[in-house]
Symmetry: C2
Subunit: 240 residues, 2 copies
């Protein structure tokens, strides 16, 4: 930072938006684990306590950050049937969330009853109701969607962490292969098939976008089938 920019930054009075934007940038660039009140204050050129005038505590800071990203998600497209509306909105959310990978963890780690999140959920529910879904079915469908409505899934193994680690030698790779073959043959078989499918031997093998849409479409198909059948939870419970 040059002297000039530093001066200009310092002159701009701190406000909630500047705090939140700086926090988003910091989380994007340094990772959510590097986001501390002290570090954020330093980045803004203020004393740590100055932040507490604009956010009550770190929890509120994180809620606010999520709000910023949720605000970037496109509103529902108009004039589409429920399936397309829901699908496009989720894929839009996915694009937003992929730009800010830390949002997933923050969304997962807390109960998110902030206006931004509630507003998103409310308009999301609205897409099903507008599509003629009963309130009952909409309720259960929202549960089934869960965090997938944000465009992400809790994956079993997060490869993004692995990508940053040191490259493994051919030797250790061979040893890992041997270990996998004897102890986890099924995992190996599936992983090999995915890699073969991918064409590369080195690549991580899984097309995340394809996997996401596979599961999403499977769920949407199921929702549509239930809707067409006039499914109700009461009948489902009686059938048990």
């Amino acid at each position: 930072m040059t002297q000039q920019v530093e001066e200009a930054t310092r002159r701009t009075p701190l406000n909630r938006d500047r705090v939140l934007s700086a926090a988003v940038v910091l989380a994007d660039e340094a990772g959510i684990e590097s986001l501390s009140m002290r570090r954020l204050a330093q980045e803004l050129g203020v004393v740590p306590m100055a932040l507490y005038k604009h956010v009550a505590n770190k929890e509120e800071l994180l809620d606010g950050m999520v709000g910023v990203i949720v605000g970037e998600i496109d509103p529902p497209v108009s004039g589409a049937d429920w399936r397309n509306a829901v699908r496009l909105r989720i894929l839009s959310a996915r694009r937003s969330l992929l730009r800010h990978p830390w949002v997933r963890q923050v969304l997962e780690s807390r109960t998110n009853r902030t206006p931004a999140v509630l507003g998103y959920v409310d308009s999301f529910i609205g897409m099903f109701l507008a599509g003629g879904f009963s309130v009952d079915l909409t309720h259960h469908v929202m549960h089934a969607l869960g965090s997938r409505m944000w465009g992400f899934t809790q994956e079993l193994f997060d490869d993004s962490a692995n990508a940053a680690s040191a490259p493994v030698t051919a030797e250790t790779q061979a040893a890992m292969f041997q270990e996998m073959a004897t102890r986890y043959p099924n995992i190996l078989e599936v992983a090999m098939a995915a890699k073969h499918d991918d064409g590369s031997v080195v690549g991580q093998g899984c097309d995340d976008q394809f996997e996401f849409e596979f599961a999403l479409d499977l769920l949407l198909d199921g929702f549509g089938r239930f809707h067409d059948q006039g499914w109700t939870s009461k009948r489902a419970k009686l059938a048990k």
Copy 2:
């Protein structure tokens, strides 16, 4: 702790299992946020550094704790078709995980390539392969299942946190209702229907077990349909 018990505890030499068990108990009773190396050491009546002889660091401690719980999950039942085998196993995992609510967060926050987790996943994949699923379909099905294979879903709003908070007065409840009605009418409508369904006005309204099984069965139905149709990812990609 009486003097006698304290003596006995101190005489038992510390080992990895005792460290992990104590950590599990501490997380169960005090919550995962209260689990620190220092607090755990105190609980075991040792100096913090003594722990580092049995676990390399906190990450390894958490991995080990997950391993303890995963070890409690029932093995696959034999002689069942794939659908029942998978279903029963997931519901067994769910029972284990519900007894130790912190496991969800720990599983979500890390890339879990530990022997315990890999072993579980491997045997899980085995159930689909044994049911005649292609390796290809099994791969995508495992992705679609995601963390649901552990018996939990990322819910939008975690009510467990809310239950611990202070009870709200009738006044603030009415104000919240008013706020919801004007700003989040769709959420309110769904929430009201769920409560009515539940019979109570106060209850949290959602039957978590029902919601879980609703989504699980919807997915399993989809998997079965794909299996019967001889679905392949290659054909699915060409169709796009």
